[in-house]
Amino acid sequence: MTATQPKPRTSRPGLLGIYRSDLGKKYAMAISGVFLLLFVFAHMVGNLHAFEGPEQINHYGEALRELGEPLLPRTMLLWVGLRIPLAIALAVHVHAAYALTLTNLRARSGSYDGRNYLAAGYASRTMRWTGVITLLFLAWHLADFTWGIKTVNPDYVRGDVYGNLIASLERWPVFALYLMAMGALGLHVWHGAWSLFQSLGINNPRFNAYRRIFAIVFATIVTGGFVTVPIAVQLGIIG
């Protein structure tokens, strides 16, 4: 691409038209990111039921399937209200990330000899990698606890949340995998939970300083909360 020949303008009306622009993809990243952040937070809080014992966490698992009952059929709200919207949010998040990564790689022309980063942190520069690691982990995690694929979790018993998590997290390679994945998620959230404010233009000198604090606290709480369960299983506190 030369500096004198821009590609044709792509501005089209409608929400899809906005998404076609790079800024539009950033809005989509931020909005889907908010939804995914709310999910990981709720997931983390839900996990803590494991400390209450088998009955409570299994009951919590069943309660999620029974959400909306008796007004709605069993698992309907779980699918329509949570799983499908989450899958859509994830798909949008991943597609926007993929498209923007291609744009950004095309926009570059070689790297510098001895680049010195002054502001960009470890978390912001590894977003692509932590994102991919989290996505790969998600596939494992679903196979492990949701689908109960035998090669991933041989002792899986449908509905026995407590037994399943012990059976899986007792194995030290799986334990290590979960810790690493939560580290990646934590780094991703560390940057993402701040970045989303900038992308959406939520910027005001009155609260700007708190945006970074919010992201750090949020990432710490989510990662910390998540890792307590595998650590507790390894230490025998759960089990």
């Binding site: 691409m1 030369t2 500096a3 004198t4 821009p6 590609k7 303008r9 792509t10 501005s11 009306p13 038209g17 906005i18 622009s21 790079d22 800024l23 539009g24 993809k25 950033k26 809005y27 923007l100 744009t103 950004n104 095309r106 926009a107 570059r108 022309s109 070689g110 790297s111 510098y112 000899d113 001895g114 680049r115 010195n116 980063y117 002054l118 502001a119 960009a120 942190g121 912001s124 520069r125 977003m127 940057h191 701040w194 970045s195 404010f197 900038q198 992308s199 959406l200 233009g201 939520i202 910027n203 000198p205 700007n208």
Partner: protein, 253 residues
Amino acid sequence: MNLTLRVWRQAGADAPGRFETYPAEGIPPEASFLEMLDIVNERLERNGAEPIAFDHDCREGICGSCGVMIDGVPHGPQLGTATCQLHMRRFDEGDTVVVEPWRAAGFPVVRDLMVDRSAFDRIIEAGGYISVSTGSAPDANEIPVPKDAADAAMDAAACIGCGACVAACPNSAAQLFTAAKLVHLNLLPQGQAERDRRTVAMVDTMESFFGSCTNHGECETACPKGISIDTIALMNRDYLKARLSDRRLLGRS
């Protein structure tokens, strides 16, 4: 002062480039970085070699012509100044200094350390102006501007268009430049009527040349005028607003 330079040499836009090492001996510490390059170039010419090509004009940090990557930092180790305001006393005796052109697909290398920054001109052409006649300088006071808006617009207007933001960005994004120009005009009363059209046109043009923002914050640190990434957030907000409302059809449906 005696230094060693590792300089990017490239004969032309399509020629392959490479690093060359040159001694820079007996450099006075009070020389600016560009004066140091002048001294090195004089010696190269005396020896019949091609001098190192670099852009420069005012040499007082207000024109935005100069700008090279020095030791992996745009405009070098002294923050808040352009390359011309960087003095050799900032370096230590015996240092090896790596000098490279801005690297971005939107800024193709013309020769050595010179890059073609006309992509910035395309962005300005798309909307970096106010169409109505605002009169001569004294008429500027005809429209009162609140002090805080005037200050914020002036801070953004400090952008000299040097391209350090693009050079610093790992995505080669021109967000800080475009946002500075947009905020400069969009905060002022004279800029309101064309605010939406300007924002969409400038952002779309920017996107046709450059990458997208991932909020690293490198640009803000590299900017010789200290323009804040707050301007990028304002641009993001304005673009969303502009795309959601369409003034062309306002009141005509």
